[in-house]
């Protein structure tokens, strides 16, 4: 037998393979940064109190609770899990348990137990979605309803009050003028970013979202990875809920209502596709920052609540439409 006679030509410089248009590329990458900048400039011009340390601390503090959820939700979207609609239930779980268990087992164990139980709810959704293959919308809707029902039944449907004001003081304390809760959020974001972009689990998450069967055929434990995204989100919202409970020193079963939509909004405005396969925590947080700043400017301008909703809605639709358009132009 003869040896192989063919060598593929090494055409590094083949002009058939060029990159996409650089302008479109820049816009799709930096569009959000430009938008944030625009809001900052407009806000500073429109309101004298906007560009003050106090206001920014406010924005950050308001952002922290939903921000922690956003970190988790990023994993869900990237893994191709559409959305986690059980967030309100897991937040309630975290808030109510962290307060209700305080007198029984002490504040720190209560805090941990609250988060762990929220994580368990995430595990339920995760098992249904990853291992049985239920559509995530249906599964998280179902699990959310069940968990919220159980939580309500457990506390008899009323408000739970905190019994330990020291814990409230702790979460409300500031380090160098930055509220502790903001620091916790930043820590979660950094860990989340590291996991998604640098760890093998993160790469698995992206691969599973990008092509499930190919990832499976590449020995990626796709079921676990998919389930894991929901556990991560549940842990995040459990933490979020626990912090919320401690700040408010009271918790109702419905504390978490609306957080799922806020979190999805942020992630989506951050340019992360709901179809999965790519995305990063900083992008999602940039989306969150943009939404929060815009809301803040509107509130400072005295814009009425319905109008805010209107603007926010248009914004989500517009941001995603623009992103889709740019991506198509960019050929990516």
């Amino acid at each position: 037998m003869t040896d192989v006679p063919i060598q593929m030509q090494q055409d590094t410089t083949n002009e058939r393979f060029r990159g996409g248009s650089p302008l479109v590329d820049l816009l799709s990458r930096g569009g959000l940064a430009i938008a944030i900048l625009a809001v900052l400039i407009y806000g500073s011009l429109a309101s004298p109190v906007f560009f003050t340390a106090g206001n920014f601390v406010n924005v950050l503090t308001s952002m922290a609770i939903v921000g922690i959820v956003v970190v988790g939700m990023t994993f869900v979207l990237v893994v191709g899990g559409l959305a986690d609609l059980s967030v309100p239930a897991t937040i309630a779980c975290g808030a109510i348990l962290s307060l209700a268990l305080q007198p029984v087992i002490g504040p720190v164990p209560a805090f941990a137990a609250a988060i762990a139980l929220a994580g368990f709810c995430g595990l339920m959704s995760g098992l249904l979605i990853g291992y049985i293959g239920i559509n995530p919308i249906i599964a998280t809707l179902g699990v959310g309803t069940i968990v919220l029902g159980i939580v309500q039944a457990a506390v008899g449907g009323v408000i739970v009050y905190g019994t330990n004001p020291d814990t409230a003081a702790l979460v409300k304390s500031r380090v160098f003028g930055i509220p502790a809760i903001v620091l916790i959020f930043l820590a979660v974001a950094i860990v989340g970013h590291f996991v998604l972009s640098r760890s093998y689990w993160g790469r698995w998450t992206v691969a599973t979202g990008g092509n499930y069967s190919a990832a499976e055929a590449s020995a990626v434990p796709v079921r676990a990875v998919k389930a894991g995204a929901f556990v991560i989100t549940a842990l995040c919202s459990g933490l979020s809920g626990a912090l919320l409970g401690l700040t408010l020193q009271s918790a109702r079963p419905l504390v978490g209502t609306g957080y799922e939509f806020s979190a999805i909004t942020a992630v989506v405005v951050g340019g992360i596709s709901i179809m999965g396969g790519f995305g990063s925590v900083p992008r999602a947080i940039a989306g969150l920052v943009f939404v929060q700043l815009l809301t803040n400017v509107m509130v400072l301008q005295g814009v009425r609540t319905p109008v805010q909703g209107f603007v926010l809605g248009l914004l989500i639709a517009g941001a995603v439409a623009l992103d889709v358009a740019l991506r198509r132009r960019g050929g990516a």
Binding site: S199, N211, A214, A219, V220
Partner: protein
């Protein structure tokens, strides 16, 4: 239509995608009643040209004339109205409808304003019979195997009674048997005066069926010639722009002890009681007719599907394989049949695809070592001359053959002792094909055991040391290469010769 008119005249067609100039200034002329073959390497632009013809893409420049009339097609429906039908390279059917509904998709017959299901079923049954395919018109399409779906796709195009029919690699998932049936139909269509455009990497088929051949290279048209008087070697030279002597090289290697032993394996449905062994340094061919159960067998060995009976031994020790990860630990690797669906993660770069199975090994405390990751990717991009040689490029932007090389690289990074390749050269051009064969040759020379599933008999005969022929889920005893011929394999595969 006037019989004298030329069926199709495409002039100066160019098509640019962001970052790729897929076609530049291509001319194509096809006559009624003739089979016009288009050949070219992977990524030469064959499919793109046909998608321009079928209205899927708008050309950047250029004009199209059908039966002497200049036309402008903006969407597939426009082309269909003009009598152009296309069998796509990638299957393009609706899994949730029945076979009959698929065949009549977009032009269902009506009776009293309603869909006439009885007529659809009747006509579909007739056409499928003609194609020699035993498929129930009322079955849900998604329940069919890939090759059956391919036949439905062909039936669909044929049933529309087109003036021009385009077949983009119709035989890539068909067996010789079905290919023969297809060719009968093509000849009949020819007689009916239909213009047929036929794209294939199987040059033997091209020579058998085509009247004219057009060669594309790097998005440009090289030449159009009558098929009479052109040889395969000539076509290859024109396609790759250089001489090729042996498409199926066989590298000698030392055959050693059995590595993988499959004993009485079965899943109760797709394959039963399959036994064979592969030795180190050996390429074991696994062939058979469409739907013989080879893919399911391979998937079961790799832990992607569940076997219900029998066992697997690696190096003499029984192993239980319940997941691809377990298979990988046992030293088994599997390059799947369907590259688009199971092979690549399109949103990731070549580098990220290659390191996917071994990520954990490249990690410390959960963190992936970027330098190790890059090193791995660089090594295979060079070794397999992946084009373009940029590991950071998104794998979805590569041509089919190069994607396949990336998929093979991915598994070599796990350094397996047994490599199962399922149709590794399906839809891959001759150049890349030879390249892949060279790679496989080197691997076995290095002591690896390879199982190669292939429906292309020349490839099986050219590359494999021993061959197992499967029929209806059962495997015949392995036959030595020396004792094999295409006729013998066909006899085993069709059951003319008992196993």
């Amino acid at each position: 239509m006037s019989a004298a008119a030329t069926a199709l005249r495409m002039r100066g067609i160019s098509k640019t995608f962001p970052g790729v100039k897929a076609l530049s200034n291509v001319n194509l002329t096809v006559e009624f009643g003739r089979v016009h073959a288009i050949v070219g390497e992977n990524g030469a632009g064959k499919s793109t040209l046909m998608k321009v013809l079928s209205g899927t893409y708008l050309p950047t420049t250029g004009t199209t004339e059908i039966a002497g009339v200049e036309v402008r097609m903006r969407k597939p429906a426009d082309a269909q109205k003009l009598g152009v039908r296309m069998v796509h390279q990638e299957l393009n059917l609706v899994p949730d409808l029945t076979v009959a509904e698929n065949v009549y998709l977009g032009r269902m017959p009506r009776k009293w304003g309603l869909a006439d299901k009885a007529a659809m079923v009747r006509d579909t049954e007739f056409i499928l019979n003609e194609l020699g395919a035993a498929i129930d018109p009322k079955a849900r399409l998604g329940d069919l195997s890939i090759s059956q779906q391919q036949l439905v796709e062909i039936a669909k195009a044929y049933a529309a009674k087109p003036r021009i029919i385009v077949l983009d690699e119709p035989t890539s998932s068909l067996s010789e048997h079905e290919t023969a049936a297809l060719f009968r139909i093509l000849r009949k269509m020819k007689q009916e005066g239909i213009a047929i455009i036929y794209i294939s990497h199987r040059l033997k088929e091209v020579l058998e069926i085509a009247d004219d051949v057009t060669i594309l290279r790097d998005g440009s048209m090289i030449d159009t010639r009558p098929a009479d008087g052109i040889t395969a070697a000539e076509m290859i030279r024109l396609m790759v722009g250089r001489e090729v002597t042996n498409v199926f090289p066989k590298t000698p290697s030392d055959i050693g002890a059995p590595v993988l032993k499959v004993i009485g394996l079965g899943d109760g449905y797709n394959f039963r009681d399959v036994s064979f062994e592969v030795r180190s340094g050996e390429i074991l061919g696994l062939t058979g007719l469409v739907g013989a159960g080879r893919t399911e067998l391979a998937r079961a060995i790799f832990g992607l599907a569940r076997a219900t009976e029998g066992r697997i031994e690696i190096g003499g020790k029984a192993v239980t394989i319940k997941s691809p990860a377990a298979a990988m630990r046992a030293g088994i690797a599997y390059v799947p049949e369907d590259r688009k669906d199971d092979g690549i993660v399109p949103s990731l770069s070549v580098r990220e695809n290659i390191s996917l199975p071994v990520l954990r090994k490249l990690s410390r405390f959960g963190r992936v070592s970027m330098s190790a990751d890059r090193k791995l990717a660089d090594r295979y991009t060079k070794e397999f001359s992946i084009v373009p040689p940029d590991p950071e490029r998104r794998v979805s932007l590569l041509s089919g053959g190069n994607q396949q090389k990336a998929v093979i690289s991915k598994w070599l990074s796990a350094s397996p002792s047994v490599l199962i390749l399922d149709e590794p050269t399906r839809g891959v051009d001759v150049g890349a094909k030879a390249e892949i064969h060279r790679i496989i040759g080197e691997l076995v020379a290095g002591g690896m055991a390879v199982v190669m599933i292939s429906s292309e008999l020349p490839e099986v005969l050219g590359v494999c040391d021993r061959v197992v022929v499967m029929r209806d889920g059962h495997a015949a005893a392995p036959v030595e290469r020396a004792a094999l011929s295409e006729e013998r394999i066909m006899a085993l595969a069709t059951g003319e010769e008992a196993a």
